[in-house]
Symmetry: C2
Subunit: 336 residues, 2 copies
């Protein structure tokens, strides 16, 4: 491939003149400019951005680490990030952590050596040890969706606490009293927040000490499956279930049939993150959806602001409200 010197030679100028033409910087006479442009097109010259990246220590590149792009929620977040990056002239390295801190760290190290300017990460756990590594290298970072132990870090997330509260209130308003929450892992901040909202609504309604009604698990279909099996053993049997995410909801649906239970006649269901719609029962439950696209878009732009020199300003904790889709049939509870 030709380099800037080949172009310069062909045009009979110095490399720096070619550079000035390419970047439209400094003064170049029309005549030289024409000769350079001719040489560029003759040689199919494509400037190599690795050079400038090395000099300027700016790659205009961002590392994006999500849990699993196969989950439509993250897909949508990624799309928001990508659109923001496109507009801002950044390129994305896409990485799937699969919720593993090991893979997360591995990717961060590789991305650091690739000289990304910053990171957009969905942390796998609240113990976010790679942060030290990132900050020591002086790289910017904005978290997506889940906060971590340290608060000294920018984040854009959904209002899980508020949504947990509203979903629970919704069920309470429909006269449900025995409400089980099938939750994600204790190490995920979103699960913790969702539980907090649940408890707040229950307490306000005068139902104290309902913590044992929260089943901690994973954000997976399997987990939802086993959590449901357990919840259905309780006496009195719950009249309503809260699924802390879409996969857990799938697990729930898989079980109910075996117990001869139907939604909403026998048991009500409300769901966080109503995105993957495997379920034919969609009209029968109320859902609270994260504004996924906006989350990605905002987080990316927050990062780009930082990279643009806005490092001094104070930390951001942007909390986006969920979108509610209330469907009539989430209740009321069945008569015994």
């Amino acid at each position: 491939m030709p380099n800037i010197r080949d172009v310069a030679q062909r045009a009979g100028v110095a490399p720096i003149t070619v550079s000035r033409v390419i970047n439209d910087t400094g003064y170049v006479s029309d005549e030289l400019r024409q000769r350079v442009e001719q040489a560029i097109s003759d040689l199919n010259y494509v400037p190599n951005r690795l050079g400038p990246s090395m000099r300027s220590k700016r790659s205009h590149t961002v590392g994006l680490v999500v849990a699993d792009i196969t989950n439509p929620f993250w897909t949508t977040v990624v799309r928001g990030v990508e659109d923001a990056a496109y507009k801002a002239g950044y390129h994305l390295f896409l990485c799937n952590s699969d919720e593993s801190v090991y893979k997360e760290r591995e990717y961060v190290e590789l991305l650091l050596s690739r000289q990304v300017d910053g990171f957009l990460i969905v942390p796998a756990e609240t113990q976010f040890d790679v942060l030290e590594l990132i900050q020591k290298q002086g790289k910017a970072i904005v978290l997506l969706d889940r906060y971590v132990r340290t608060r000294s870090i920018d984040i854009v997330r959904g209002d899980s606490d508020g949504a947990g509260y509203l979903l629970t209130r919704h069920l309470l308003d429909l006269q449900h009293r025995d409400i089980a929450m099938l939750n994600g892992p204790r190490l995920a901040s979103t699960a913790v927040e969702r539980a907090k909202g649940y408890r707040r609504a229950m307490n306000e309604a005068g139902f104290l000490d309902r913590s044992e009604r929260i089943l901690w698990g994973e954000y997976t279909q399997e987990s939802g499956y086993y959590q449901t099996l357990e919840a259905l053993q309780w006496r009195p049997r719950p009249t309503a279930l809260i699924a802390a995410n879409n996969f857990i909801a799938l697990g729930i649906v898989r079980v109910l049939d075996n117990f001869g239970l139907r939604i909403p006649e026998d048991i009500s269901l409300v769901v966080f993150d109503d995105l993957p719609v495997e379920v034919n029962l969609r009209p029968f439950f109320t859902s609270a959806d994260q504004p996924a696209y906006e989350m990605g878009f905002l987080a990316a732009n927050t990062l780009f602001e930082r990279l643009g020199g806005d490092r001094s300003s104070e930390l951001k904790d942007i909390v986006l409200p969920f979108k509610f889709t209330v469907r009539s049939s989430s209740g009321p509870p069945p008569k015994p």
Copy 2:
């Protein structure tokens, strides 16, 4: 950030010795190795891969351009690519072309200047002009899903022709005779192939000249909507519809209600790419699904083989069969 010379200085060695320790190449005495490792950890040294990339002209980086990552089909393809890349030690630049040749070209140019080693692209149109650019720069490329005019290019794709044939046969076997195909754009090779399979099955069954039963459009919900409106005007009215992709199927479903038509009682439906399942009618149609993950994984590995020096071998055209999910209720046709 410290560089290799800082480490060398601290360890009292030459930079090349540090390089040898990092890459575990050449001979280094245990003593020096220890001093170097100590210095690396003291300084939190992270090697800068831009240096080697510039020297070796290998970035171990791949440009991935898909139509829209928001479509679950492409999501799954991307996941396959990512897993393959992770294993092979490559990193991905993710780009959405939004089916626009303009954006496609823009991304390819940017990726070229970023010195990607190769490309994985879902071409927006059969006229794939950027190919010249890519090949002139001596970069490897493997197409995903859709072929283009030039055949001198590796590709991994689904067997659209075969799937079109089988879906049509399925309807014919159920005694359908008036079958409308709501297809994608004429510029998309997948749409062309799907139509080809349809015609082949119809011809074999003795129904010639059924080309006018193919409605060309876009792979979008809007297109499916208007195509359905048109198809329903025909006399005799079609007893079965073939949706050439998932979005078109959504458009179909939106219309049927207005006409008081129900699936499968009044009209049968078969669908390509049964991935986004907005539809509550899923149990009522037969679908042919692309092996999306495998497509991404295979395409990426094909590219890596090329990058590994396998450029000489002949062109690959890997055609993967669709997976069929035949649901009983796709037919038979209603009695008049």
